[in-house]
C-alpha cells in the first residue's frame, strides 16, 4: 500500500470544454477532422475498385452542394491544423542555434508556415498548369 496520499484538486468532467483547455481541444479535434477527409478518399478508392458505375455515383456526390459544404468546412479545419501544427513544431524539436544565437520560436513558426503555404500553392498551381496544358 502506498503511504502517499497527495491532494488532487477536483476537476469537473467537462474541463476540456472551458478555457484555457478549449483551445487545446479545438486544435486536437481539427487534427481528427483529417480522418473525415481520408475516409472520403477511401470511399472513392472503394468505388473505383467496384467499377465505373459506382465511381460515377461517387463523382455525383462530390459535385453535390452537401459535399461542397463538407469540403469547405474541412478546408477551414485543415488550415487551423496547419497554423497550430507549426506553432507546436519549435516546442517539439531540439533547440536551433544559428551563429551562437538561439533561433526564436516565432521565426521558426513563421518560416515553416511560409514553406507550407508555398507547398500548397505550388501543388494547386501545378494542377492548374497541367490542366491547361492537356
Amino acid at each position: 500500500m502506498s503511504e502517499r496520499r497527495p491532494y488532487l484538486r477536483p476537476q469537473p468532467r467537462t474541463w476540456w470544454a472551458h478555457p484555457p483547455y478549449r483551445a487545446y481541444t479545438i486544435r486536437e479535434l481539427c487534427g481528427v477532422a483529417l480522418a473525415i477527409y481520408a475516409a472520403i478518399l477511401l470511399a472513392g478508392l472503394i468505388c473505383l475498385a467496384r467499377g465505373p458505375q459506382a465511381f460515377e455515383s461517387y463523382r455525383a456526390f462530390l459535385a453535390s452542394p452537401l459535399s461542397l459544404v463538407i469540403h469547405l468546412a474541412l478546408l477551414v479545419t485543415t488550415l487551423w491544423h496547419m497554423v497550430t501544427w507549426f506553432r507546436i513544431l519549435p516546442k517539439t524539436m531540439p533547440k536551433l542555434v544559428w551563429r551562437g544565437k538561439l533561433v526564436p520560436q516565432a521565426l521558426m513558426t513563421n518560416a515553416a508556415t511560409l514553406v507550407a503555404v508555398i507547398c500548397s500553392v505550388g501543388l494547386l498551381a501545378t494542377a492548374v498548369v497541367v490542366g491547361a496544358w492537356l
Partner: protein
C-alpha cells in the same frame, strides 16, 4: 548524455512508431492538406480551374494503377488516419472517456485496419 553503469536501459516500447506515423501524417497534411482538399473536393468535381476530366473514372484509374500514384494514395490516406488516431487517443484519454487499452484498440486498431484495407484495395486495383 551518459547513462550510469548500474541503471538499466529504458524498456523498448512500440510508442515511437505511433509517434512517427502521427508526425508524418501531421506534417503531410500541414504542408499539402489545404491544397489536396481544394483539389479533390472542390476544384476537380466542379471543374473549377482544372478540367473536370481529371476526376473521370479513366483518369483516376490510371493514377491508381501507377506505382507512384499507389504510393501517394497509401501515404495520404493511411498517414491521415494514423495522425487522427494518435490525436483522438490522447484527447479521449485526457477526457477519461474509457480505459486506455480500449481507447488504443478503438483508435490505433481502427487506423491499422483501415491501412490494411487501403493497401489491399491498391493491390487489387492494378490487377
Amino acid at each position: 548524455m551518459s547513462i550510469p553503469g548500474n541503471t538499466p536501459l529504458p524498456k523498448r516500447t512500440i510508442g515511437p512508431l505511433f509517434w512517427l506515423l502521427f508526425g508524418a501524417g501531421g506534417m503531410l497534411s500541414a504542408l499539402f492538406g489545404p491544397a489536396l482538399i481544394l483539389l479533390t473536393g472542390v476544384m476537380i468535381p466542379h471543374g473549377w480551374g482544372v478540367p473536370a476530366s481529371f476526376g473521370s473514372y479513366e483518369s483516376v484509374l490510371a493514377f491508381a494503377c501507377n506505382p507512384l500514384g499507389k504510393l501517394v494514395l497509401l501515404a495520404v490516406i493511411a498517414l491521415l488516419f494514423w495522425h487522427a488516431a494518435e490525436r483522438l487517443f490522447l484527447t479521449l484519454h485526457d477526457m477519461r472517456a474509457a480505459p486506455a487499452a480500449l481507447l488504443r484498440w478503438l483508435t490505433y486498431g481502427v487506423a491499422a485496419l483501415l491501412t490494411i484495407i487501403v493497401a489491399a484495395l491498391l493491390l487489387a486495383i492494378g490487377l
